[in-house]
Subunit: 252 residues, 2 copies
C-alpha cells in the first residue's frame, strides 16, 4: 500500500531533508518514526530535498507499507513519535504509481523577509532581516522570472541537472506590515534557484540592479552570472501540486 503524507517542519535543527551519516535530518526523523510505528524499515521519498535550515509548510512524501490501516492512522501515529518541529498534516492512500517527486506538477516556495534596523528574536532562523527596499521595483523585476525560460543563470554552479529550462507560473513580491515576501510557483526548480532569485531581487530593492538587468542575467544563461544566494533560513516550501494522487483522497 502506498501512502502519501503532507508534512510541515521547521528546518532550523536539521541538516536538511536528506539522510546523511552522522547528521540529524528530516528524512531520518520521519523514517525513524515510521519504523517505531510500523515495525517496518521504510524508506520515504520527498517531492524534493530541502537544504539545511530551509522550512516546509507543505512538503509531500510517499512510502510503501505492508500495513493495511486506514491512511489517517498515520497522522496521529507518526506525530506521536516525531519531534514537535516535524508534523504530519495529512495522510492518504495513493495509486501504486504515484511518486512524490516524479508526479509533482508545480511547486511553490515563499521567501520571508522583515524590514528592520536590528535582528529580532521572533524571526531568528525564520526570516531574513533586510533594510527598507523598493518593493515596487522588486515586483517589476520578479515579473521577468515568469514564463518558460532557460534558468541556467539561476542555478548553483555545481548542480547536476540535465536541462535548465523551467516554467515559472507566478513570481510575486509583496509586503505585509513589516514583513516582505517573495512567492514563486514553477513546474520545478534548479538547485538554489529560489535563493538566487531572492539574491537578485534584493539587489533590485537596493537600487543596484534594474528589472532589465535581471532579464539580461537570465538571457546570459551563465551559471556564474548571479552569485548572490540568499540565506537558507528565509525559505519555505509552501506546497506541491499533483494532477491526481490516485485512489483514496480521504485524510486526517
Amino acid at each position: 500500500m502506498r501512502i502519501c503524507l503532507t508534512i510541515d517542519y521547521v528546518g532550523t535543527a536539521y541538516a536538511g531533508w536528506q539522510v546523511q551519516p552522522g547528521q540529524t535530518t528530516v528524512q531520518g526523523a520521519l523514517e525513524t518514526a515510521l519504523e517505531k510505528l510500523t515495525g517496518e524499515k521504510i524508506g520515504v521519498v520527498a517531492s524534493g530535498r530541502t537544504d539545511a535550515g530551509v522550512h516546509a509548510l507543505g512538503q509531500v512524501v510517499h512510502f510503501d507499507t505492508d500495513k493495511t490501516w486506514g491512511a489517517s492512522a498515520f497522522v496521529g501515529g507518526l506525530n506521536r513519535y516525531l519531534p514537535r518541529d516535524i508534523r504530519v498534516l495529512t495522510a492518504e492512500q495513493v495509486a501504486p504509481d504515484f511518486h512524490a517527486r516524479f508526479s509533482a506538477k508545480r511547486k511553490t516556495y515563499v521567501y520571508r523577509m522583515y524590514v528592520g534596523d536590528v535582528e529580532r528574536a521572533i524571526y531568528s532562523g525564520r526570516a531574513l532581516r533586510v533594510e527598507p527596499l523598493d518593493v515596487d521595483a522588486m515586483q517589476r523585476a520578479a515579473a521577468r522570472f515568469v514564463g518558460r525560460q532557460d534558468f541556467a543563470s539561476l542555478c548553483a554552479a555545481n548542480a547536476d541537472t540535465t536541462t535548465t529550462e523551467r516554467t515559472v507560473y507566478v513570481a510575486d513580491v509583496f509586503a505585509r506590515g513589516d514583513e516582505l515576501y517573495f512567492k514563486v510557483t514553477a513546474d520545478g526548480f534548479l538547485y538554489n534557484m529560489v535563493r538566487i532569485m531572492v539574491g537578485l531581487l534584493l539587489r533590485v530593492g537596493r537600487g543596484q540592479l534594474s528589472a532589465d538587468g535581471v532579464a539580461a542575467i537570465l538571457a546570459a544563461r551563465d551559471r556564474t552570472a548571479a552569485r548572490d544566494t540568499a540565506p537558507a533560513h528565509g525559505l519555505y516550501l509552501l506546497c506541491v501540486e499533483y494532477e491526481n494522487r490516485g485512489t483514496d483522497r480521504a485524510a486526517t
Copy 2:
C-alpha cells in the same frame, strides 16, 4: 546613568522572565550579557514578568550603569552576548526616575491561535491550535472586557494583588488567514488575566458561553468563576507604553 531597553524574545527555552535558582530565565540571560559587556553586576527591572513559554515582541526593561557610553552601544553590545532567541531592539538613556514597571501606562498583549485539525510544526510553541470558532461571537464577548472594571473573576486565585480594578482600553478578536488573534490593551493586567480572557473567549467561540455569560462572570468578582486558563505558548507581550521616558530619545 539609567538605560531603557526594548527587547524581544521567544520564551520557549526559558522558565519565564524572572531569575530563579537553577533555571534559565530571560532576566538571567540579560543580566549575564550585561555583566560580560560592562564588567558590572547589574540588576534589570522589566515592565512585568512573563511566565514560562510566554513571548515578548516589545518588553521594556531598565537598569543603571556607571558606563557613560551612548545608549545605542548597548544594542550591538548586548546582542553580541545574548542568545539568538533574545534580542535588544532599542536602547535609550532615560531620566533617573523612569521605572520600567511603575512608569508604564498601558500594556498590550496578543494571543495567537490557528485553526486546524492537526498540530503544525511551524506553530509549535508559538500559537495555540483551535477548532473552527465563531469569531463574531468572540468579538462581541471581547467587547465586554472593555472599560474600568473589577477583574477579580479573571485573576489567578493565588495572585497577590491589592486591587483587582483595571481599565481595558481595547479588546479585539480578529482572523487573518488561518490565524486568529486576541489583542488587548489595558493600564495593567492581573496575574494570568489575558490567558483567562482567552479561556473564556474559546468557550464563547465554541458556543458554550454567551457574551452575557462573560459579563456575568465579570460581575461575579469571584476568583474561581473563570477557571479555563489558555496555555502560555500563544501569549505575546506586544508593547508597553509610557508617558515620557525622559531625556535622550535617540536609539539604535
